[in-house]
Amino acid sequence: MSQAVVIGGGPNGLAAAIVLSDAGHDVTVFEARDEMGGRCHILGDTAGVQPWALKALGINLERDSAEPLHHATSGTLVTVDDAVTGVAAWRAEVARFTGLIASLSSAPPPDIRQDAPMFALLGPAFAGLKLGRAGALELARIGPLCAEDWLDEWGIPRSAQAALCAPALHGTWMGPRSPTSALAVLFHTALSSQPIKGGMAALLTALTARAQALGVTVETASKVVDIQVTDGAVSGVSLADGRFVESTVVLSTVGPKSTLLELVSAKSLPLGTEAFVTHVRTRGVVAVMKCQVSAPIFGGASHVVVTDDTMSLERAFDDAKHRRLPASPALDVYQQDGQVSVLAFGAPFDLEGGWTDEAKATLKATLFEVLSAYIDTGLIEESTVWTPADLSEDFGLDGGHLFHGEFALDQFLSFRPHPSLARYQTTIGGLFLGGAGMHPSGTFTLGQGVLAAQSV
């Protein structure tokens, strides 16, 4: 059996390990933190986990019947479902593109480089043709739009718009008035279906159990500090504790930037790589608070977006843009069995003056204040806050960005993170990228780890 190393024991790391192990590799996963799971501990949205990815992993998980999204605005909780003006018609419009987006997202992105065979583009071209003339033209029109303009066209009230946009914006560096944010909302919505029963915890349990059953070796508190490259190919990894593990296959699920700029020594990189990897944009805009509640909040709703309307969502983005402490962050709240994840949109990675203890305390107070308009904050028993800087430090997220890289027209599909890296195989022999910074992007899909491992 050939040896394979997976860097990172998050969802994509475990997924990659399962696929590699299934294919006959002897797999070891190295996780820097004390526990496995990575972003499973901070994200809450499981609706985007792709059924084909779970199937490839041999994991069967029940889905909750799609629970309507709740929206807290001006002190009240409302349900954003098809009864809201325009939402049903808009969802039908999204459904027109779901086939194309799902098919693009379930395979490696097409190779668009000049020396790639032209037939690589046939698949997507065919999927595009199925949309028909009107559909293709419409997609070309929607792509560059601002999310707010697009949803306005459907007559959706701007308060409900905010609930539909907010979860999609976490993966971007945009507000609802940024051009191309419509595309982010389209991808996020098209890729989302019902959430997994039991949420992130259930997903993590299933991934861990499956990996164990396949005999994957898992080492926590084992930080990989160097990827050894010999004659243009990987030969092993060095760990923080001084060990060296030989391996000719290394699949990294940490960000493309960390992998290629920190773990691989600059002299091992092909000329020019350092420059374009440096330019990958990874500006985090979300802070996270995890807490335990003594009784259900928001009436037990599993997903609530707390922000007034697209204007307040845009203002939250402005704070991140100007590197200010968020005055009124837009909150995305996920609740599961007494565990609550609060994703606060509007917190910059590179806060002016830095994320001091004082700044972090202010952020935490702000989160409590925003929540207190809707819930009894006395129910919150234990809470931990991660600023984007903490997310970078603790979870190794490049730029503190929840998805290792912003979703943008030049950073999605075949451009994620760069045309020469998008198909998971790097220019270094045996080194693969399979983290959230890769295709498919738009939401938490679990697709990157699977597709990267399949490409090994």
Binding site: Q114, L137, I142, P144, S178, L409
Partner: protein, 529 residues
């Protein structure tokens, strides 16, 4: 009624006049109808204050197509383009940066901020030059229709695809990034100095309701480099006599070729019968028929205003209603008693003979945009300034000067509602002068006359719907085969015998003349008149 005219052109702006001149040159009987008392539309010069000539709206020659200058013999008819020598940026702390046509000077100037950026600047220019060569044919051809199966369309697309592929992986990626990224993100991949990135990035936002950090604003950077490859014809510059001189030269050329031009002849509506344009009805009630009607007006005004919704297919009306105009800029023209000194670099030397950008840093520009986003004019706006009198002494009495200030952001949709602009006009003008006074403290005392144009004024006076200076946002979804509506981007319209030749058609706004020329070409090729 007999048809005396082959074509009636609604609007005597520069595109209408270019279209008229080309049709007349091809032997057609053409009538141009202009609502205002003078020609040129937004490309006009007027003596608003005795002795001082303002380029009231548009103030520079931006990419005026060299073939138009040649074909219409514009030099013979009085067009004289003076080069803009430089771009000068003062900073509040007293520093300044001048980028000039002389690469050695520019290098020294940038090196005071960053040696690295000074090295990169010419490399950036070279890369952009290569992209400009790729993109240039796009503005000189009609937009291909990607959904058509007609051989000619497929050939044009294939040719474009081949040229894109021939760029090679690196340049093709750069072209893609240029088309999709924000101006600041794009420039930040090259440069490290915010003081340099800021003034460079603002060419991406002129006329749009977007910020320098909004995706899709980078591609306009290319326009400057396109101008350079147009070469000696100087497609960027300043017209002697003001921007109106361009329109006047085109008008004289059109008349020379036999076109008839009437001013004070506003069109009230376009007559349509059975889905076919018959002619026009003037505001004074006169009816004039022609074989075809060509509109040089903005698309929404043309179709919803002059034609009427009931004559149009539903999906076209939907597209027009979605068409984004959202004017974002205003203009302040000043008559000055004497030349005002900029603290950062006094005097009226070389650095004042180009355009001057008030764009000290990218956060400043973004904050200016933020004000507009929430329905206010910018308290500290981005400004682009020209002193025409330094290049053309005849625009003001001896020793006096004209200062042309393009101001952004002045959103049409202020929170009080656009019709409340007149009440805010002077406050807006004050914000402009107050901001400028920080750079130029003697300015206030030298003002003899001030003309403030808000987006509301641009709409009311010049027919620029919502005050949009480009007849529609130059955003990605409103370019090429989607300008102004998908399926109707080749100057034809859903109304038979009605054509569009305005900036609301491909390739869009600016004093380029390209929509007028390309429309004329399509009309003549199809034998429409």
């Amino acid at each position: 009624m007999s048809e005396k005219y082959d074509a009636i052109i609604v609007g005597g702006g520069h595109n209408g006049l270019v279209c008229a001149a080309y049709l007349a040159k091809a032997g057609r009987q053409v009538l141009v109808l202009e609502k205002r008392h003078i020609l040129g539309g937004a490309a006009c010069s007027e003596e608003i204050y005795p002795g001082f000539t303002y380029s009231v709206c548009s103030y520079v020659v931006s990419l005026l197509r060299p073939q138009i200058i040649r074909d219409l013999q514009l030099s013979r008819f009085g067009l004289h383009v003076l080069p803009l020598e430089s771009t000068f940026t003062p900073y509040p702390d007293g520093r300044s940066l001048m980028r000039s046509a002389n690469p050695d000077v520019t290098r020294q100037e940038i090196a005071r901020f960053s040696a690295k950026d000074a090295d990169v600047y010419p490399l950036f220019g070279k890369a952009m030059g290569q992209l400009a060569r790729f993109a240039k044919p796009i503005i000189d051809e009609k937009a291909p229709d990607p959904m058509s199966y007609r051989p000619a369309e497929l050939m044009q697309l294939l040719k474009m695809g081949k040229r894109f592929r021939d760029l090679g992986d690196d340049l093709a990626l750069l072209q893609y990034k240029l088309t999709t990224m924000s101006a600041v993100d794009f420039l930040s991949e090259w440069f490290e100095t915010d003081e340099l990135i800021a003034p460079m990035s603002c060419s991406g936002i002129i006329g749009t309701m977007l910020g320098v950090k909004s995706p899709g604003t980078a591609y306009v950077l290319l326009h400057h480099y396109m101008g350079e490859i147009d070469g000696s014809s100087r497609s960027w510059g300043f017209a002697r006599g003001g921007t109106g001189a361009i329109s006047m030269a085109i008008a004289r050329s059109a008349e020379h070729f036999g076109a008839e031009i009437r001013t004070n002849a506003g069109v009230a509506n376009i007559k349509v019968k059975n889905g076919t344009a018959q002619g026009v009805v003037l505001e004074n009630g006169d009816e004039i028929d022609a074989k075809i009607v060509i509109s040089g007006a903005e698309p929404r005004l043309t179709f919803l205003g002059l034609v009427g919704e009931k004559e149009l297919p539903d999906d076209f009306v939907t597209q027009l209603k979605r068409y984004k105009l959202r004017g974002s800029s205003g203009k302040v023209n000043l008559a000055l008693d004497r030349f005002p000194d900029f603290v950062a670099r006094p005097g009226s030397g070389m650095h004042m003979r180009g355009d001057i950008s008030i764009a000290p840093n990218t956060d400043y520009l973004e904050r200016a945009y933020d004000d507009a986003k929430y329905g206010d004019f910018s308290q500290k706006p981005f400004m682009n300034i020209v002193f025409p009198t330094l290049m053309d002494r005849d625009m003001a009495p001896p020793g006096k000067h004209v200062m042309s200030i393009f101001v952004q952001y002045a959103p049409y949709h202020i929170k009080e509602g656009p019709s409340h602009w007149p009440e805010k006009r002077e406050a807006f003008g004050d914000a402009v002068i107050d901001t400028l006074s920080e750079y130029c403290p003697t300015l206030k005392d030298s003002i003899l006359h001030r003309q403030v144009l808000t987006p509301w004024d641009l709409e009311q006076e010049f027919g620029l719907t919502e005050g949009n200076i480009f007849h529609g946002e130059l955003s990605l979804e409103q370019l090429l085969f989607q300008r102004p509506a998908s399926g109707w981007a080749q100057y034809k319209t859903p109304i038979r015998k009605l054509w569009l030749c305005s900036s609301g058609a491909h390739p869009g706004g600016g004093v380029m003349g390209a929509p007028g020329q390309l429309a004329a070409k399509e009309i003549l090729m199809g034998g429409a008149c």
